[in-house]
């Protein structure tokens, strides 16, 4: 386990800031990630937590190279992928998979579930026995085979997210990015999807980066946690240690702000543990 799957050094990502775009000409660049250093150990789930504007989604998109970093380096499985052009990334894609936040938007409305799950298989040289492979992928996420001929609008929210997982795992990738995959789901569905991902990650030995705003979910699923705020890492440590003894004030504020489902008359009173 000494050899991490991902090793990230001084990672910076800048994106055009459309809110400051002049009438004519290019939008100025805004630095979203301001120099991140961390590693993702093989075969474990790492949580990335932060509020809006923390840069957690940008970080995820840089890891799977949907975005190109402006500085620093990303070493994936011993290979520097920081500035690889799209064509050279393509053979690596089978090991860099992603499950999206919104399965409504991430599944093509005019393709059948079969076609959606078959796409990565076909594109990565597993075009033979497609039927069996898609059937296996569906079965893995607990969906009946009959769903193959359906379209996304004929599925419930939880079923759509299962399809998203089936597609991402169809290639048995080394790495999966899960970006807020349960934030649009009801709690009962959320629990199903999370236990499914938990089981599959363990069975398949996946390395997962689990992006979420919900520390309660991270606590359950992740072995280590990276806490982000405004483009920098506030705190990164093993999950048990982080929750037992959060070192940073911001982490403590985040924890204190979670409304736990239990009666606590003092929670809403101003004073103790007030967020900055």
């Amino acid at each position: 386990m000494a050899d991490p799957l991902f090793s990230v050094r001084e990672l910076k990502v800048a994106l055009p800031d459309m809110t400051r775009k002049p009438l004519i000409g290019r939008a100025p660049m805004a630095e979203i990630l301001k120099g991140l250093d961390f590693e993702l150990p093989r075969g474990s789930v790492t949580g990335i937590v932060g509020e809006s504007g923390s840069g957690k989604s940008t970080l995820g998109r840089a890891l799977v190279r949907l975005l190109e970093p402006s500085a620093g380096s990303i070493i994936f499985d011993g290979r520097d992928i920081t500035h690889l052009p799209e064509a050279e990334l393509r053979p690596l894609r089978r090991n860099l998979q992603m499950i999206f936040q919104d399965p409504m938007s991430s599944l093509n409305p005019r393709r059948t579930i079969f076609s959606i799950i078959a796409a990565p298989l076909r594109q990565n040289g597993f075009g033979d026995n497609l039927k069996d492979r898609v059937a296996e992928a569906l079965q893995r996420v607990g969906l009946p085979l009959s769903f193959a001929s359906r379209y996304r609008h004929q599925l419930s929210g939880g079923q759509r997210q299962r399809v998203g997982i089936a597609r991402a795992l169809a290639l048995s990738p080394k790495f999966v990015l899960a970006d807020e995959i349960v934030s649009g789901l009801d709690v009962s569905t959320q629990a199903q999807i999370l236990t499914l991902l938990e089981r599959l990650a363990a069975e398949m030995g996946l390395t997962v980066a689990f992006i979420s705003h919900d520390l309660s979910v991270i606590r359950r699923l992740c072995r280590q946690v990276i806490v982000m705020r405004e483009g920098v890492i506030v705190e990164a440590s093993a999950t048990d240690a982080l929750f037992a003894n959060p070192r940073q004030a911001y982490t403590r504020d985040l924890l204190a702000a979670i409304p736990l489902p239990e009666i606590d008359d003092g929670w809403l009173l101003p004073g103790a543990k007030a967020p900055a």
Partner: protein, 282 residues
């Protein structure tokens, strides 16, 4: 899904009525020499301005009456369908191919491709379309192919603008990124992920454009700039009918009704196809 169900219920009758009329017009065009009761060019001053069959003074064999030169109106309409439909299909398809391709490229690739294509469209749209058509036909010379080229050259911008906007919307969807994750290249994503989602709009626009092409051809015929005056065209018949409106209203009314029904059928057929075959609405 509710909206889809509603539009699908309406689509059945619409699709069949519109499709039926278009099929009838197409069959008439293809088999015109076999169907037409008279020679559409045969003049007979003995039979000038005969009324349609239900009015007194009608002659058997001249179902919709004759024009001021004694030519059979029904036969002329049947032969006129040939020109109308050839122009509709050929011109609309050509405009669609040019416009949709450029729109897809501009919308999906953005950047310089988008800037250049969009500027061309802006300049193009600044020309008054009918004047533009007349000018083009004047330069190319009259004839069927000039009419088709003129309509395609003018109307591709319609497709380009709409398809560009649709494509830009689709390109922002997560499934485009999801396809990159799956290992698809840019062209592959454009064809596999984006195109199927703009096809319903293309079909709807195409059917609308076919109707527009029929009208533009009629306008060009009306101002005598379409094809040789020997071949009967709906626009030509309308132009002649206008001159004898007080003596023979039918020469103006029947081609107008035929034209309106055909144009309406094209647009309704497109909407009906979309409602029936788009998986999102099913």
């Amino acid at each position: 899904m509710d909206e889809g169900r509603i539009s699908r219920h309406g689509s059945g009758a619409r699709l069949w009525l519109a499709g039926g009329w278009l099929l009838l017009a197409s069959l008439a065009a293809i088999f015109a020499p076999l169907i037409a009761p008279q020679n559409p060019l045969a003049q007979d001053l003995m039979f000038e301005r005969l009324p349609p069959f239900w009015m007194s003074g009608a002659e058997p064999g001249f179902w919709l009456g004759t024009d001021s030169l004694g030519r059979d109106l029904l036969s002329r309409l049947i032969f006129g369908a040939r020109i109308a439909l050839i122009v509709a299909f050929a011109a609309a398809l050509a405009a669609c191919l040019i416009g949709s391709t450029l729109g897809l490229i501009a919308g999906y690739f953005g950047g310089w491709a988008d800037r250049i294509i969009s500027r061309i469209v802006d300049v193009w749209m600044a020309f008054p379309p009918v004047l533009f058509a007349i000018l083009l036909v004047a330069v190319l010379g009259t004839g069927l192919s000039s009419v088709i080229i003129a309509i395609a050259v003018i109307d591709w911008t319609r497709f380009c603008r709409v398809i560009r906007a649709e494509t830009m919307g689709q390109a922002r969807m997560d499934y485009v990124e999801n396809a990159r994750i799956a290992g698809y290249g840019r062209i592959g994503i454009m064809l596999r992920e984006v195109l199927p989602n703009v096809v319903p709009s293309i079909v709807a626009l195409l059917s609308l454009e076919m109707g527009i092409a029929v009208i533009v051809e009629a306008i060009l015929s009306f101002v005598n700039l379409s094809i040789s005056t020997d071949d009967p065209t709906w626009g030509g018949i309308i132009a002649e009918g206008r001159l004898s409106i007080h003596q023979a209203w039918w020469v103006l009314v029947f081609p107008l009704v035929t034209l309106i029904l055909t144009v309406l059928s094209f647009s309704q057929f497109g909407e009906g196809l979309k409602a029936r075959f788009d998986p999102v609405l099913r």
